[in-house]
Amino acid sequence: MNMYYHSKYRINSEMKMIHLLEENHLLLLMLQHFEIDFRVGDSTIAQLCREYDISENLFIGITNLYSGVRVANNTSFSKKDLLRVIVFLKNSHVYYRSDKYPQIRNFIFQLKQNHPDKELKLLERFFDEYFAEVLEHLNYEDTIAFPYFIALLENKENTAASSNYSSDKYSEHHTDIELKLKDLKNLLLKHLKISDDWMLRRQLLFALYELEYDLYIHSLIEETILIPAGIGIENE
């Protein structure tokens, strides 16, 4: 997947957030997941991190992910960072569950109303089944995976150990929910004939791209930050 939305540049803590947003407005999603107010003013990354009690290391690491740069293998994050990562991931779940997916569902529903073709009924059903799978996955992470990681990070090894769960199991369960999203996009871009309705179709596609982008970063955070850290602690 090509996620190089923007040219690569080194991010340092003296850069102003507002300039980074000019380069890549999708960082607004990151701010939201970090619970940082959009009114960033002239704050530098360092100032924002201090104000919101986030380590610069973590903030820059995730900002880099949003700009297409992976976290280097040897980067280590503190336990406090990782707890923050979990809050970040939970917040992105809220965004998927109550914001983006319902919005997409609504667009598809409207399309179906406007075009009584049978294909769109099927598309709606496709989406609903997909959404149900996504919800199941998100619930799984919220109720099993994240509590496990939190126990692990808060040194409640016994609780963590007795749960009979592990980072390894998590990475196995870690299914690819981006796959059907791609199918949906390809159906709309390559196959389904829908006449007119430009605005609605464009809104739907924009929403799909936005969701795809955030989901991609989401899984990168899990794969390159959370899971390696979890395995590290388990091996201690």
């Binding site: 690569k8 992976r70 294909e119 099927l122 496709f126 059907k180 199918d183 390809n186 390559k190």
Partner: protein
Amino acid sequence: MNKILQQTRQHIVILEASKIISEGLYGVLFHSEINCKIDHCDTLDEFFELFETKTPHILIANSMQFLNREKEVKKIRKIHPNIHVVGMDYMHMPNMNGLFDASFSLYDPEEQIIQTISKLFEKQPFAHQTKTDDDSLSEREIEVLTGIVNGLSNKEIAESLNISIHTVATHRKNITAKTGIRSQSGLTIYAISKEIISIDDFS
């Protein structure tokens, strides 16, 4: 101009710390007929970092960047034999056998630089050169697709068409490559929209 360079998008990385030179080369490439996407790295380490997520087709490097790092470059070349490495000659190109597939001088005319890059692709095997853009499914693929849509397993499809499971798997791969769709339910919608199957089978 070589056809592949025009038809399939080439990911080119320029490894050069001088802004003047990399921007100049950028301009030369963009104004050529090469269909490309260009990234830029100042240092070899930055390139290796990019390499963790991307496999570019062509690396155009200031040869000095490889100085004392020959082993690492050779290792990368071994792992990714398909990447073309082109050296930029600054009059005093160090002798680095086996690190470059081609090289040009900073004083070469633009056309010659493009030609140097273009020549690399003449040696490519035929299979790489002509990949048709035709995304329509073959008859066999349509039969396999019908099976998938009807919920048959690979084994059942193989039996019904009298072909091996392995062949079914290959067809499935090609169907996904052509349609861009992986899931069974997505393929169902595809099949209906292309009138391969009738909607009445799925009410």
